[in-house]
Symmetry: C2
Subunit: 290 residues, 2 copies
């Protein structure tokens, strides 16, 4: 497995791979890899000639009061996992290598970034769009793998790829969960034992939501009220948002609309804080029709 810390090394590897007519599968991450990432790595490995992982904690997508400095890192363990998953090349640039000068260019996706995490993290998705554009240009992947846990991120990247005609297929991958249902996240390590116990409220609420969604007379507003009440049963939980939206457009619904009449793909997305740790989870419903 090759580990590259400079763009020049990576580009040389990509050029020789492309010249050999080989396909490239790419998994961009911020490191501190868990089984969720591993599932992406294995899929990239199995569907392409060459599998590339990037590990870069991108300052551009953190707000001034967010956890950039304390974002967890473990280079050695990450490389061991990558090796185990059969990754061919890891790109681990420094901030200086990725942003040698003050960047003046932003890749901005409008509308679908205005809600959910975009609303509570202004500028976050501009940072994501910009760094993913950079990485796509450096890695030139045929396929790039993103987890459905960050469903909004996935929708934003897919929109960006479609709008800007990037020559890459975006492959959505299912959420990987702990045995009790908690979605895997690098941020789970911050949780206290009590918070960890109660954090299961996100996945439980999502699981129960399906039957509520199918109640014949229930409206969007009533449905969300049930969701909020369910989250509040966890004493440590502080709700950031609970939204039911069209997916992947993330366009809002009318509060008085009956959920059973929504013949569309919908997403129920949750963000809940436990102390300073903010967890997200979601579930996509193919259609609310009973």
């Amino acid at each position: 497995m090759n580990v590259y810390r400079t763009k020049a090394e990576l580009k040389a590897f990509v050029a020789s791979t492309r010249a050999g007519g080989k396909t490239i599968g790419f998994v961009p991450t911020m490191g501190y890899l868990h089984e969720g990432h591993a599932s992406l790595l294995r899929q990239a490995r199995s569907e392409n000639d060459i599998a590339v992982l990037s590990i870069f904690v991108n300052p551009l997508q953190f707000g001034p009061n967010e956890d950039l400095d304390r974002y967890p890192r473990d280079e050695e363990r990450d490389l061991a996992l990558a090796r185990e998953c059969g990754i061919d090349a890891v790109f681990m640039p420094s901030v200086q290598e990725m942003y040698p000068q003050q960047p003046l260019t932003s890749v901005i996706v409008h509308q679908i970034t205005g809600r959910l995490c975009g609303a509570s993290r202004p500028g976050h998705f501009d940072g994501v769009g910009t760094v993913v554009s950079k990485l796509f240009h450096l890695v030139m992947p045929d396929r790039a793998y993103f987890g459905l846990k960050d469903a909004q991120q996935l929708a934003v990247i897919q929109q960006m790829v479609d709008d800007l005609n990037f020559a890459v297929d975006i492959v959505p991958c299912p959420i990987v969960r702990e045995p009790d249902g908690l979605a895997l996240s690098s941020r789970n390590v911050y949780l206290s034992a009590l918070q960890r116990q109660q954090a299961v409220v996100l996945s439980r609420t999502l699981a129960e939501a399906e039957q509520w969604l199918h109640r014949p007379e229930i409206t969007v507003e009533q449905f969300l009220k049930l969701i909020v009440e369910r989250i509040q049963t966890a004493k440590e939980a502080e709700l950031d948002y609970a939204e039911l939206l069209r997916y992947p457009s993330l366009q809002p619904l009318e509060p008085q609309q009956k959920t059973a009449e929504l013949g569309e793909k919908l997403i129920l997305a949750l963000a809940v804080k436990f102390g300073a740790t903010r967890l997200i989870d979601n579930r996509i419903f193919e259609s609310a029709e009973g």
Copy 2:
């Protein structure tokens, strides 16, 4: 010469060219080609295995009160010129083909777009950055050719390429002029005989500017005053801007600075309206030091 009107056809051509290990030179244009474009096409032709021209009048880079609808077009003449220059493939998509849905993604370059044409044409360079990103992703060129007449556009594209790590070399090409000095432009056809006669004031002013710039005691402010007065000798001319800036950063200078002390690459950029027709021209000075 192949003429492609769809992205799918173009992508198939690009894929087979890349697979054959051939280099691609690319000239993006809005058509109505003149000798200035021809010089770019010939250079792209001579420096690459395959030369690609795009012709697309991009609605995104026109303001609501600009000349999108009356922008001149002559497909037949453009294709004849492209053939004459040895172009291998022409991409001429419709607006519907380039923007099949309302685009939500913008590629925005900050700072250097705030002055000159960016100041009088808000949103213009967002449209340019976005469409050039799309075209780069579709054509995948090794080299792309841009005329120095649109010096700010060139600076914006170079910044975007550097910031986003596009795998393309931007090749700046010299301004091509009429025998009397007028810079070639698709918009020159709009000029009345009298306006055409007086339009030479731009290139004459730029030619005379060099000696003024080298006057030992002259300040930036005094220099620009001479420029403005010189433009105003043309009765039909209405000055939009005359600016002396650092190049390619397009950062401003202090008005009281002495030009002879500016040991930097500078650009003197002019935009002048003749009736409804807006002409631009510029000159880059390696250093103002006498």
